[in-house]
């Protein structure tokens, strides 16, 4: 029974206010920014490069010279981690934008146009869901090794968009019946203009949150695939390849090689998830009305 107030703030300012109120979410955002700086600016600042060998320090634990220690071959762990993080960040970001983008267009088209467009899209979605994505990417990865790993990102995205597309589709179906869409149709606005101008912007909250979730999903997918040697291929480095290379040493005194990049990976994913959670609360503050009555 709480009436709406005539809010002079614009909507984005309101969202920003809500987001900033969640300290954890802000911390997450800060961390993500920090990781970007770490990964991309770090190599300019730090002494060692990822492909430099230090012949005087094989398998050394962290020291003032090598902050994260060195590997068996003499590579600096910190430099490797920074390089790996670059990959992970890019994979996460590009992949998320791609997969959410595909999902939005496909889902909206299916929901809005119905008929054959809908049926074909759903069949495609169902087919891609049934295909074992891990298997296919794994099988294909050696084929694409040597080429740019961006194709790998494309593949990852190609298997990530389906469930989101289904949700976009059902949201479109209900939004299609909303009166402002009818108003636009009866004015004579063309269909794609309606989708782009009216339908997708009204799902933006969901799409943003979904993109954020996709970032962490894709980062983790890459780690999973690289763990078995299927994802990023040498000589490229990612957090996944690092974990793959060093997990067996986790129980040894050289475990720092595993734990340090693993820890940073966890932090990164945690930070992204915090941002996503904060965004969700800021954009759709309806969760949390329950509780005691």
């Amino acid at each position: 029974m709480v009436p709406k107030k005539a809010d002079p703030d614009s909507r984005s300012r309101l969202v920003l206010r809500r987001f900033l109120r969640r300290r954890l979410a802000v911390a997450g955002l800060f961390l993500v920014a920090l990781f970007f700086v770490f990964a991309y600016l770090g190599p300019f600042v730090y002494k060692w490069q990822y492909n430099q060998l230090d012949f005087q320090a094989f398998l050394q634990p962290p020291s003032s010279e090598h902050w994260f220690g060195t590997t068996q071959n003499g590579f600096d762990m910190l430099a490797l981690t920074m390089r790996g993080m670059q990959k992970s960040l890019i994979i996460g970001l590009i992949g998320a934008v791609l997969s959410t983008g595909i999902a939005a267009v496909a889902g909206a088209a299916a929901g809005y146009f119905s008929g054959w467009t809908d049926r074909v899209t759903i069949a495609l979605i169902d087919l891609l869901l049934v295909l074992p994505s891990f298997l296919i990417i794994a099988i294909l990865s050696p084929v694409f090794s040597g080429r740019t790993w961006l194709v790998f990102v494309l593949l990852l995205s190609a298997f990530q968009w389906m469930i989101t597309a289904r949700v976009v589709r059902s949201m479109t179906l209900s939004m299609k019946e909303r009166e402002f869409v009818y108003a636009a149709r009866f004015t004579g606005v063309s269909n794609w203009k309606i989708i782009v101008r009216h339908i997708l912007p009204n799902m933006s909250s969901f799409l943003i949150i979904d993109a954020t979730i996709n970032v962490s999903s894709l980062i983790l997918s890459e780690v999973g695939l690289s763990f078995f040697g299927f994802g990023v291929q040498p000589p490229d480095i990612s957090l996944g390849t690092l974990i793959n290379d060093h997990w067996q040493s986790a129980s040894t005194p050289n475990g720092y090689q595993f734990y340090l990049p693993a820890f940073l990976l966890i932090l990164l994913v945690l930070a992204v998830n915090l941002v996503g959670d904060g965004l969700r609360d800021a954009l759709d503050p309806n969760a949390g009305i329950g509780g005691d009555r």
């Binding site: 009436p3 005539a6 009166e179 402002f180 009866f186």
Partner: protein
């Protein structure tokens, strides 16, 4: 009368914390109710009426701050634990909510839920409780109660669900029933049934009823005393006749004067109340009604008036206004206080109807939908005969009202027209052009002259676009050059009574009435000839409706528009329309000039419809003879044979003999003229007989 009040609420205040500040939803509300009495609490959105009743039941969220006193039979309820209150809830005080679909748990059967109400408070076996549930279902008038008890809520119709809720509420013979907008979500004829059921429940249990609603007509017929709330506070209270015939607070006066009356033949302009109800955050000092009150004085802005008993009125009649004594002494009416706009007749009206051009013609329009069941396995199991052959026409400058209850097909009809589709059968002719032959370009061209205003102001404007973009869209789509658009948008905003500088705002920043005006502005952007309006005022607060209705009339006069006005609120239709068509289950039951149809309806359905609509006039309400229809509106996928109305028809059930009934079963009645062979008042009934329903005072 020295009996103790059943419930006594004193200085009840409820405040909610919110992002923008504390919301004072209820401010110092006091009322009492005696055993067996019916108290009406009337108010619009934001008045605090629902919150106050939830406070009585102890069902507000824990973040709500509640102060004051609620005494039930002398015992204080505020501050009691959930455990103690739950012994009272459902047993001594029960509640009926507004939307029965969401108010019933979807995963349990109706019988189980009613039995649960019994089992919580009485030590019975499961069987005995279910028997009692069936007994209650029968009491509230549900046919085949034992079978229906094992059905789920979604399998019931709206009216049935509400009856089930009433059954649940009376399961333990409560002493007080709180009914929160019990009929708002229901069709008019169903509403009449439910009000009758409530009355029966009251007689059976002897309970007192608190009836909360925004509908003054419902209150007039049901309540003994009434309290009017505004901005969280009671502003007038008293016996029902006192408040309705001698209101002493400007808000009440304005409210009563702004409601279109079903029984008035003259098209009097409505007295609108300017502005809208205030936000409850940071309420300014003084009387909250001040910005909208034509009688305001300086004192009103500084001191909030107390509820003071008036001198000369009946006992207990109190009003919260600094000038209520003045109103009383001079016996002011709403027309004295509120300036009534003068709206003339459109020029076109001078030309007789038959000579004017037809902007819209429907000939035997048919639209069927496949009936698809199952959310997962969608399959066709039948056909919904949404629109099954209707014919009507609208002339230039004319307003046709299309009325009917759910399932009658009025929404489908306008959708067909607006889509400009080739109909499954029949013809749609818009501005002289048949839709059947239209190409996409033809349709695009027609859309300049045809526009629409939708019901829900919240949903009809894209929340992501500022008003300027919303209004620019039709202009841009039809090629108005960019330079001219801004000027036109300013012009449009001014026409509908908004300010031009508002164009950069977003819809959420406007009130409901203002949003609807934006919707109207959008509809006028391309200078249409015919505007289709789908329930344009039903989603608005009562005090705001008058302003929008007046605006629509003025626009019609100034711009020479024709309207196709769809509504379920017949009083609005009577006020604004020239002609009216009454639809039932996909067919037109009656059509004709509005005054004629309303004062002398011929079809039994129209008669029942008019009879069911409550009038905000307590004496008339008490005296009226009501026609209560039996049963629910049939499913449009399975309409009765012959005359579709026969299953509920009061004539069929009452007056006709068997032979006549057989004709109703076998033969579908066609529209025939009621006022002479060339007359334009048509009704589709074999035994149509006009009589003045609204004046029928046979006594209860």
């Amino acid at each position: 009368m020295t009996a103790q009040p059943l419930l006594e609420v004193s200085n009840l205040s409820v405040t909610f914390p919110s992002e923008a500040g504390p919301v004072a939803a209820v401010r110092s509300l006091s009322y009492h109710i005696m055993p067996g009495e019916v108290l009406g609490i009337v108010g619009e959105s934001g008045s605090g009426k629902s919150v106050s009743s939830l406070a009585v039941m102890g069902l507000l969220p824990s973040r709500a701050k509640i102060t004051g006193s609620i005494r039930f039979k002398g015992a204080e309820l505020l501050g009691q634990s959930d455990k103690d209150l739950s012994t009272i809830r459902g047993r001594r005080i029960s509640m009926i909510f507004q939307d029965p679909l969401s108010a019933l748990t979807p995963v349990f059967t109706v019988g189980d839920q009613i039995a649960e109400a019994v089992l919580i408070h009485q030590k019975l076996s499961g069987h005995a409780a279910m028997d009692r549930a069936v007994e209650l279902l029968e009491l509230v008038g549900i046919p085949n109660p034992r079978q229906r008890a094992s059905a789920f809520p979604h399998e019931f119709s709206g009216g049935m669900r509400q009856r089930a809720m009433i059954a649940m509420a009376i399961a333990n013979d409560p002493e007080l029933i709180i009914a929160d907008e019990p009929t708002t979500a229901l069709d008019v004829t169903i509403q009449a049934q439910i009000l009758e059921t409530l009355e029966k429940a009251r007689e059976t249990t002897g309970a007192a009823i608190i009836m909360i609603t925004h509908d003054l007509g419902v209150i007039a017929g049901a309540a003994d005393r009434v309290t009017v709330m505004y901005a969280g506070k009671p502003v007038e209270t008293g016996a029902i006749d006192d408040v309705f015939y001698q209101p002493r607070m400007p808000y009440t006066l304005g409210l009563l004067g702004s409601i279109p009356r079903l029984d008035m033949a003259e098209r009097q302009p409505l007295t609108p109340i300017e502005g809208s109800p205030p936000s409850l955050i940071n309420l300014p000092r003084g009387c909250p009604f001040t910005p909208r009150c034509p009688m305001r004085i300086e004192k009103c802005e500084q001191v909030e008036p107390e509820l003071v008993v008036l001198n000369a009125s009946g006992a207990g009649h109190a009003a919260a206004c600094h000038r209520s004594n003045e109103i009383e002494q001079q016996n002011l009416k709403s027309t004295d206080i509120f300036p009534a706009p003068v709206i003339g007749e459109p020029e076109v009206g001078a030309v007789p109807r038959a000579q004017r051009e037809a902007v819209l013609e429907l000939r035997d329009l048919v639209k069927h939908f496949p009936l698809v069941k199952g959310a997962i396995l969608r399959r066709r199991v039948g056909t919904v005969f949404a629109v099954d052959g209707i014919s009507l026409d609208i002339r230039e400058g004319e307003t046709l009202g299309l009325v009917g209850e759910s399932g009658c097909g009025k929404t489908t009809t306008i959708m067909e027209i607006l889509n400009l589709t080739t109909p499954a059968s029949g013809r749609i002719v818009v501005f002289g052009k048949d839709t059947a032959g239209m190409t996409a370009q033809d349709r695009f061209a027609v859309r300049e002259d045809l526009s629409v205003v939708f019901q829900d102001p919240q949903a009809s404007l894209d929340p992501r676009m500022p008003v300027s973009s919303i209004l620019a869209e039709p202009l841009e789509t039809h090629g108005v050059p960019a330079g001219e658009r801004t000027a036109r948008i300013e012009e449009l905003l001014q026409i509908v009574g908004l300010r031009a500088e508002h164009m950069s705002r977003y819809p959420q920043e406007f009130s409901g009435g203002q949003r609807q005006r934006v919707g109207i502005a959008r509809a006028l952007a391309l200078k249409p000839r015919l505007v289709v309006l789908d329930e344009p005022v039903s989603a608005l607060d009562v005090s705001i409706r008058a302003g929008v209705i007046n605006l629509l009339e003025k626009l019609r006069m100034d711009l020479g528009l024709a309207y196709l006005f769809v509504a379920h609120d017949l009083s609005v239709v009577r006020h604004i329309a020239d002609r009216v068509a009454v639809m039932y289950l996909g067919k037109i039951a009656e059509i004709g000039e509005v005054n004629r149809v309303f004062s002398l309806p011929a079809h039994p359905y129209t008669q029942a419809l008019l009879s069911a609509i409550p009038l905000p006039d307590p004496r008339k309400e008490r005296a009226r003879r009501r026609i209560i229809l039996k049963g629910d509106i049939p499913n449009p996928s399975d309409p009765p044979s012959g005359c579709r109305f026969r299953t509920r028809c009061q004539k069929f059930a009452g007056e006709l003999n068997d032979q006549q009934r057989q004709r109703c079963i076998d033969e579908e009645p066609l529209l025939t003229a009621q006022n002479g062979p060339e007359g334009d008042h048509l009704a589709a009934c074999h035994y149509a007989e006009s009589y003045a329903v609204l004046d029928d005072v046979g006594g209860k």
